[in-house]
């Protein structure tokens, strides 16, 4: 087995991983950086983000306003010290990206332009038309090519963290093109592996978002925090789950039910705003959790439109006109045309809520450090937490920049700390050999009649029915039982593909096992949280309960058993929990 010695290993080369790698390379060119990705960096799912990245830049906006929107949007489950740090750093990071060449959309005078976004009191979302994540990712990736100290390992699939003496010491990974195991020895590891939307059947997330990094940390003993908070994006294309950016509503798009009625006014987000006029933080510019929940109620009331892909409501953009749509939203126009055959210039687009983002993730502190020395995490796989119970659109692209860099700085501080951490090579070798043995054993499994697709679909359907937009004890009981059963049954999957080169049956099997672990953490955390807060809505506990649950849930891995759930206090500095008011009446 080949061993690669590094100072820092980064697992995942999307926005957060690339930002961390560049920060490391800039801070100290002598650092040996290994940047691992199970795909090529530019395939990372950051590329699918459309709408924008939030950062206070305009004179009429303020850091306090961004803070208030974020904390209120998160239903007061955000750690406020982390939010404050995030908001302070946001404009610097976005400007840094501008210096690296990101093609931000501009105002007439050449200044960076901003657009309105849901739940934001001010226009503060920087955007590159409707392909912001794509441009952000490619800008970072291309910039990373400048640094020779960033050694990329593309298409390697990380299987295990190496841990001894309570510290992380590296990881091992399958090089997909050879099928050989590689051992990466490093005193510091940063996980930036993204979310796990694929545990649900209907998601905006790409095939690669299977929660691998979350599972790596979780199995190594690091808790997963706030996993019950799963964001549904209100405007996904039916069938494929392709995202239509919140920018659609930011630019003036409205939602209508089968009677052409703008139903959001019935769900605490009214009164109705004039067509074509965007009024911030109300109606269509309410937060994602509220909009998705409103759809659920409309559907129950029979006000949705049946389509061959399931029930939908309409996103109406017609009043914006062709010119504005082409300038601001060319990609979504193309997507809607291609995938549902509707031109938004002339027709309303059928849409429905779709799983989009995991607020929860690997537990880290404000420094992006996990409780395990040497292990850091940033981006969607991590939970800092700045997103609380519901993330505001356009905070996550900024988050991966701010905390990607932060993770790098923390890793450097750790490497240079008083006790210079060193790798116990003997222990690492032993663990890597064991990991390799486990992979080999997968090929010898007996056929129990199970298939990857069968178990995956059963998991996803069970998540949708029990841990969807609305949940209850009864529904979650079923889901947790199903997941526990599926985790056992997965050992009955026999690999038919025995080859080493680019064996995607093998990687799918590994991904499935990660997804099952993460799904179980979601379902059990949701079962234990007996209140409704942000994106976590319980039919049997409909109110927010600050006395008991103004706390982060912490799912602790317990092998074959379901996770244990503990709680951790939320950091509150200046904003006491209040009412989330998205009615337009006050303003």
């Amino acid at each position: 087995m080949e061993t690669i010695q590094s100072d820092v290993v980064i697992i995942g080369a999307g926005g957060a991983g690339l930002r961390a790698a560049i920060a490391l390379a800039e801070a100290d060119p002598s650092l040996r950086i290994a940047l691992l990705s199970k795909v090529y960096p530019m395939r990372s799912h950051t590329c699918a983000a459309e709408g924008g990245a939030a950062g206070v830049i305009k004179g009429d906006d303020s850091l306090d306003l961004h803070f208030g929107d974020t904390v209120g949007g998160g239903d007061w489950l955000c750690d406020q010290d982390a939010v404050e740090f995030f908001i302070n750093e946001a404009p610097k990071e976005l400007t840094q990206l501008e210096h690296w060449g990101c093609p931000w959309s501009r105002e007439k005078d050449g200044a960076v332009g901003v657009r309105p976004f849901g739940g934001m009191k001010m226009k503060r979302t920087w955007f590159a038309a409707d392909k912001t994540g794509f441009h952000l990712l490619h800008t970072l990736f291309q910039t990373s090519l400048k640094y020779e100290s960033i050694r990329r390992f593309d298409e390697v699939f990380t299987t295990d963290l190496l841990v001894s003496d309570g510290r992380v010491q590296g990881c091992c990974a399958i090089e997909m093109r050879t099928g050989e195991m590689l051992q990466f020895q490093a005193p510091a590891v940063i996980i930036c592996s993204g979310g796990a939307g694929r545990i649900f059947p209907f998601t905006t997330n790409g095939a690669i978002k299977t929660g691998d990094g979350m599972a790596l940390a979780y199995r190594a003993g690091v808790p997963l925090k706030d996993m019950e908070f799963v964001q549904y994006h209100p405007t996904g294309l039916p069938g494929t789950g392709i995202l239509l950016t919140e920018g659609c509503r930011g630019e003036g798009g409205v939602l209508r039910n089968k009677d052409d009625y703008r139903y959001l006014q019935d769900y605490g987000m009214g009164p109705e705003t004039p067509l074509g006029e965007t009024v911030l933080k109300t109606m269509e510019l309410g937060p994602r959790d509220r909009l998705s929940q409103a759809f659920w109620h409309e559907d129950k009331a029979g006000n949705t439109i049946p389509t061959k892909w399931g029930n939908c409501v309409y996103l109406d953009m017609r009043h914006l006109g062709e010119e504005k749509i082409n300038e601001r939203l060319p990609f979504v126009r193309e997507l809607a045309k291609s995938y549902v055959g509707v031109d938004m210039v002339t027709d309303m687009v059928p849409i429905r809520p779709v799983v989009h983002y995991m607020m929860g993730g690997i537990h880290t502190d404000i420094n992006a450090a996990t409780p395990m020395p040497g292990l850091f995490a940033a981006g969607e796989c991590a939970c800092v937490s700045i997103n609380g119970a519901n993330r505001l659109g356009s905070n996550s692209l900024t988050e991966l920049l701010v905390f990607g860099r932060r993770a790098a700085e923390s890793a450097i501080a750790y490497l240079n700390g008083a006790q210079k951490p060193a790798v116990d090579t003997a222990a690492a070798d032993r663990q890597a050999a064991e990991a390799e043995g486990r992979i080999h054993a997968l090929f010898d499994r007996k056929d129990g009649g199970e298939t990857i697709a069968g178990i995956r679909d059963a998991m996803a359907d069970s998540m949708e029915s029990g841990a969807g937009i609305y949940r209850s004890e009864e529904l979650l009981k079923d889901t947790t039982a199903t997941l526990a059963d599926l985790r056992k049954r997965q050992t009955g999957i026999a690999l038919k593909d025995k080859s080493k080169v680019f064996n995607t049956e093998l990687t799918q099997t590994l991904e499935l096992s990660c997804m099952l672990d993460v799904a179980q953490a979601v379902a059990v955390s949701a079962f234990e949280r007996k209140e409704s807060r942000g994106s976590h809505q319980r039919l049997d506990h409909t109110e927010r309960d600050d006395t008991t649950y103004l706390k982060h849930s912490m799912a602790q891995y317990r092998g074959e058993d379901a996770p244990a759930i503990d709680y951790l206090d939320v950091v509150i500095t200046k904003s006491q929990p209040g009412v989330r008011d998205y009615s337009g009446a006050k303003s």
Binding site: R177, T178, G179, E180, S499, K500, V501
Partner: protein, 130 residues
């Protein structure tokens, strides 16, 4: 090492037979042979003109023969094809700013045709045809 990437060789002599797109490209390139032959014929004509009226008359008789007329018709057809295929791609090479956008491709192509037509007209007038 279990890797053994397989390289599919491209046939060096017949690569352009692989699809219509390449064939159209080859047609564009091949038509220039006829243009070159036409130019060669024209150059011979100029030399004959310098050599005196007799030589010139012989030359004129030569180009009036049926095979020469056929050749010129073919060359003219190819010249048109060559011009069109190049005019069609000119907007790619020429991007002319106009406000916050670029001059539309059809205007660039149209201008080329316009200039072509104009020059041809002048030539025909000078030759006394019009």
């Amino acid at each position: 090492m279990s890797r053994k990437p397989y390289v599919r060789e491209v046939p060096k002599a017949t690569w352009y037979m692989r699809n219509g797109r390449y064939l159209r490209y080859m047609a564009r390139e091949v038509t220039c042979i006829f243009l070159a032959l036409y130019m060669a014929g024209l150059t011979i004509g100029l030399v004959r003109l310098m050599q005196g009226p007799d030589k010139w008359e012989t030359y004129l008789a030569g180009v009036s023969s049926t095979p020469a007329v056929i050749f010129h018709l073919i060359a003219f057809g190819f010249a048109c094809y060559h011009a069109k295929s190049w005019f069609d791609v000119t907007p790619k090479a020429m991007r002319i700013p106009q406000g916050n956008d670029f001059v539309p491709g059809r205007i660039i192509v149209g201008t080329h045709y316009g200039i072509w037509g104009g020059v041809s007209l002048v030539a025909l007038v000078l030759m006394g045809v019009l």
